[in-house]
Symmetry: C7
Subunit: 74 residues, 7 copies
């Protein structure tokens, strides 16, 4: 049995809706378009959530990896 | 006697239920599917806990390693 | 289909108006002139926003990458 | 006289009870099983302490090195 | 058309008056004399500002790069 | 005249009593036994101080370098 | 005209009285004896200041570079 690596899970989520939580408490929900080994991440059709409410609608958003705590399919 | 390394402990926990505590006080409990040398970690069937209560059920969750304080079999 | 990388999204935004959010809660809005792999970023005709209000107008601003959380077309 | 290095002190503590203090104020007490150059550390038969009280009993715990302030024989 | 890099913007500001904002909320205003790839920066004839007021006049000041958020011509 | 390097000062303090201040406000006072380039440090016969009072007596303590602000002969 | 580098400014300050401000708000004033590329710094005849008052007189003090915000001739 082959052991999977963490970035494989992100690869499976490409072009799917994911939520990305930041250390600041802000959450982005959008279509996962790209990521790299630093976990720098790009979402399309992204929404910014804070305290459980949508705060802004954004087109494309580049998220710097070191501010991210988790990424999970929505 | 052979000396063990920290990642060996994580290898033994593969496919078992673990809890992962973050610096933010959030805890994830789920099946350990993958990790790497940065301690980036993927759980399946994950639950998010906060202040001792389940806050969300997540399918798969990718956790960025640098936000993690501990990983322990549940 | 070719997989895109996060910095491609920033390349597409060159010479366009973007907003850059910092960990400190400050936001800069201006024309994206340059960035590098650390996400050090330069904006022209930049405005500094805080708590939803314009606080200062700046000409050119160099933003150190590690203080940035997101970059998004305005 | 040979100069000792910091990791030598941890090597002497292998299989002994140590306490590990985290930046978060949490303390783990258990048998030191493994550590690496990042000071990622594994304890067996670990207890979690907070504010001077035992909060949880854990079996094995993997502690990410960058959250640790000190390690000391109990 | 040649793409510019972030440090080019700092090079154009050499020997000009810039303001440097730190993560701590302190601001330094002075003549930009030197910087390196870590954004370690040296100002001459520098003033330290805090909460919008001049707090100290300094001759030369070396600013460690990782405390800087932005650098902008004054 | 030969220029000294910072670690030379620590070398001169070997086997002498030093105090080590952490970012958390905790201070350790003990005999300097070992240090490395990350400033990971080992003290013997160490005392833990907080708010100007001795809080605990420890035998040997390993201090992770990145939590240290200063080291000074006591 | 030759461009100067940030560490040149520190070299000019060797054996002179400098003040070193830390992220914690503590300031050290003393004679600059040594520094390295991490900005690890050693002062002699150092005083520790806090909130504008001298808090302690120290002989030699080693200051870990990553806690420093600025270094400036006193």
């Amino acid at each position: 049995m082959e052991e999977s690596r963490p970035l494989d899970a992100l690869n499976h989520a490409r072009n799917k809706i994911v939520m990305v939580d930041l250390k600041t408490g802000v959450r982005y929900v959008g279509k996962l378009k790209a990521f790299d080994i630093h976990i720098n991440t790009v979402l399309d059709d992204a929404e910014e959530h804070y305290n459980g409410e949508i705060r802004r609608k954004l087109g494309t958003v580049f998220i710097r990896g070191d501010t991210i705590t988790i990424i999970s399919p929505a």
